[in-house]
Amino acid sequence: MAVTVSPERDVVATPVQRAFREALYAAAIALGLFVLFIGLKTDQNISNELILVQRWGLLAIVVIATAVGRFLYVGYAQPAMERAKAQKAAAPAAAATAPGFIRRNFNQIGVAVLLLYPVAIVLLFGFQGSLKWVDNFGIQILIYVMLAWGLNIVIGLAGLLDLGYVAFYAVGAYAYALLGTHFGLSFWILLPAAGLMAAFWGVMLGFPVLRLRGDYLAIVTLAFGEIIRLVIINWREVTNGSAGISGIPKVSFFGLMSFNVSDPNYIAKVLGIAQSGAYYKIFLYYLILGLCFLTAFVTIRLRRLPVGRAWEALREDEIACRSLGINTTTTKLTAFATGAMFGGFAGSFFAARQGFVSPESFVFLESAIILAIVVLGGMGSLGGIAVAALVMIGGTEILRELDFLKAVFGPDFTPELYRMLLFGMAMVIVMLWKPRGFVGSREPTAFLKERRAVSGSFTKEGHG
C-alpha cells in the first residue's frame, strides 16, 4: 500500500509546498551534476603546473538558479498552464474560430516588414550605423531563408533527405567567382548560369541515388557534399585550393550604376550624395529579398502544378505514384534540380556579397544548419521556415551582441561559442513543443469548397 501514499500526500500539499520540495530535489541533483563540472576547473599556472581552480561561487549561482527555476515552474508556471489548458478545453470553439490579426495576415505583415526593414534601420541608426543591422542580420538571415526554401523543395515537398545541400551552394558560389573573375561577366548573366550549373549537379547527384531511400540516401548525399568540397580544396589550378578566390566583382545596379568608389558611375557621384558603404549593403539586401521572393513564388506556383503535386505524392507514397503512371525517376530528378538551382542562386549571391569564397564556407555544418532550419520551421511550410531562419541565424548573431553575459559568466565568456548549444537547445525545445516544426500543418493546393489546412498528423515525411 506504500505506493498509494505518495500521491495522497501530493494532493494534501499545497502547490507552494510541493514546489519547495521539488526545488530542493532539483538543487541537489544540480549540485551533484555540476560539482565537478563547474565547481572545479583544471588550469595551468605560470610555471606550467596543473592546478585546480575552485569556483564555488559560480557553482552556487547555478544551483540556486536551478532551484529557483524549478520552484517557479512547479509552483506557478505549471498550475497556470493547467488552468489555461482547462480554459481552452472549456471554450474550444471560440479559440478555433478567431485566429489573431497577426496570424491571419502573417504573410502580408512579413513582406511589409521585410521591405521596410532597411528604411527603418537607416532612420534609426543612420547610414553608417545601419551597416551591421542590414548586413549581419538582414542579408545573412535572408541567405539562409533562401537556402532553406530551396532545400524545402527536396526535403519538405519531395521527401528526399538531402544532407549535402551545401554542395549546390558551393557550386553556385564558385561558378560565379570563377566566371566573374576570369571573364568579367556581370552578375545578371552569372546568376542564371550559376543556377543552371547547380541544377546540373543536382541531376548528377540525383541519378546515382534514385534507387536509394532513407538513411542510404542521406549518407550518399552527405558524401556528395564532402566530395564537392574536397574537389574544391584539391583542384588548386582552378579553384586556388583552400586559399580561396578573392577579388570577385561586385554586383552593379543593373549596369547603370556601380558600387565601386573609383568608377566614374559610382552611385554617390551619379546621385550626388555622400559616399557610404551602406548603399551597397542596402542594395544587396533588396537583391537577396528579391531572390527570396522569387524562390517563394516559384515554390508556391510549382506546388499547384502537376509536378509539385507529384513531389508531395512521392513523399506520401511512391508505390501509389507509380501505379498512377507517374514517372518517379524524372519527378525525383526535377526535385533535386529545382532545389539545387535555388542553392546555386544563393551561392552566387553569397560570392558577390563576400567578394571572396573559400571551401571553409561550405562545410557539412552548413548543410546541417539549413536542414535544421527546414525541420524546425515545419517541412513544406515557407512561413515557418522563414521564422525558423530568423530564430536560428538571428539568434546566433544576437549572441555577439550580448555583452552583458560577460558580466554573469566572467570576462572570457564568448557567447558566440555557445551558438551550437543554443541550436541544440532550440531544436530540442521546439521538437518537444511542436514535433512537426513551427508550422506543422499543410496547405492543400486545390479545393472544391473551402481551403482547410491538413493537420500534420496525416502527412508523411517520406522515406527517400
Binding site: R309, A313, S323, G325, A446, R451, T459
Partner: protein, 364 residues
Amino acid sequence: MNASPSMNDIILQVEHLSMKFGGLVAIGDLSFQAKRGEITALIGPNGAGKTTVFNCITGFYKPSEGMITLNRRDGSTYLLERLPNHEIPARAKVARTFQNIRLFSGMTLLENLLVAQHNKLMKASGYTMLGLFGFSSYRKASAESIDLARHWLEKANLVDRADDPAGDLPYGAQRRLEIARAMCTGPELLCLDEPAAGLNPKESAALNALLMDIRDTTSILLIEHDMSVVMQISDHVVVLEYGRKISDGSPQSVRTDPRVIAAYLGVDDEEVETVLTEVGDEDVIEQLDIGPDAAHGPGTSSSFLAGPVTDTIGHSEGERVTVSKGASKAGQVDAKANAAPRKPAERATAKPAGSTAKPRGGRK
C-alpha cells in the same frame, strides 16, 4: 495467339505466366483471358498468388516467364511485361488498387484525384513551363481536371469530404477513394485487389454501387474473397490455388466444380449437402465438426447437417472456408485418393490455419 473472331473482345490475355521468388513458385504457368466490358474475378485461397498476378500485370514484378498482352480499344496492343512500371497506367491504361490501401493520406481527397491525372496535366502545363507562367491553356486543363475529380467524388459518394485529408476517412470511404483515384487515370482495365475486404454491409453496398457504375465503361479484373460479391457481379471467374489455375469459367460452372469446392469451400446453405456428398461427405463432415479433436465420434451425415455442421459451414450467403496449406486440394480431387480437406480452416488472414471451421458471416 489464335485469330478467333472474339479477339477484339479480349482486353487482357495472360499466357504461360510464371513468377518465381527464389525457390517458391508463386505463379506457375498461368493462362487466362479477360473480356472487354466484363468483370473477371480472380479467386483462390490465401497465398494462392492472386496479388502476385496483379503485380505482374501492373509491372511491379517482372514475370519470370510468360506473356501478358493488353489490347486497347483503339486497336493498339501492349506487352505489359516489357513496359516500365509507370508506363502501364500511362500508356496501356491499366489502373489498380492495392490490397492494403495506398492513399496519399496527407493530401486532400481532391488532391489525390488530381495527382492521378498527372500525365494529362503535365502535358497541358507544357511540362511545367506554361503552367509556371499561368498560361490560360493550362488553367483550362486544370479546371477540367477538377471537374473530372468532382465527377468521381460524386460517384464514390465522397464529394462532401473533398477538402479533407484522405487519411481522415473511414475505411470504406478510403477504399472507394482509391478506386475513384484509379478511375481518374482514365483506365480501360481496372484491377481491384480485394476491394470489399474489411467493409461493413453498408460500405459494401456503396462499393457495389460504385463498381456497377464503373463496369459500364471499364473492364474490371477483381480479386475478392467475398463469394457473394463474386457470384453476384462477376461474369467470369478464374480460380487459383498454389499459383496454378484450377478452374476457369462462368460463376455457375466454377462454383459446381469439385476441384474448386475442395480447394476453396464457399457454398450456400441448401447446397451444403449436395456438395458434401459430392466431395466425399463422411470424411468432410467428420472433420469439419470435430476439427482437431479426433476423439469426437463420427455420425451420420444427416444428423450432422441438422446440427453443428450447418452452424459451422452454412449460414448466410457470403461465408467461405479456406483450407489449410498443404498439398493442393484440387489435386486431391483429381487423384480421387482422398477427397476431403484434412483440416478445414478459418480464413487464414484472420487466424492460423488449423482451427475449426466457423461461419464468417459479414466481415467486421
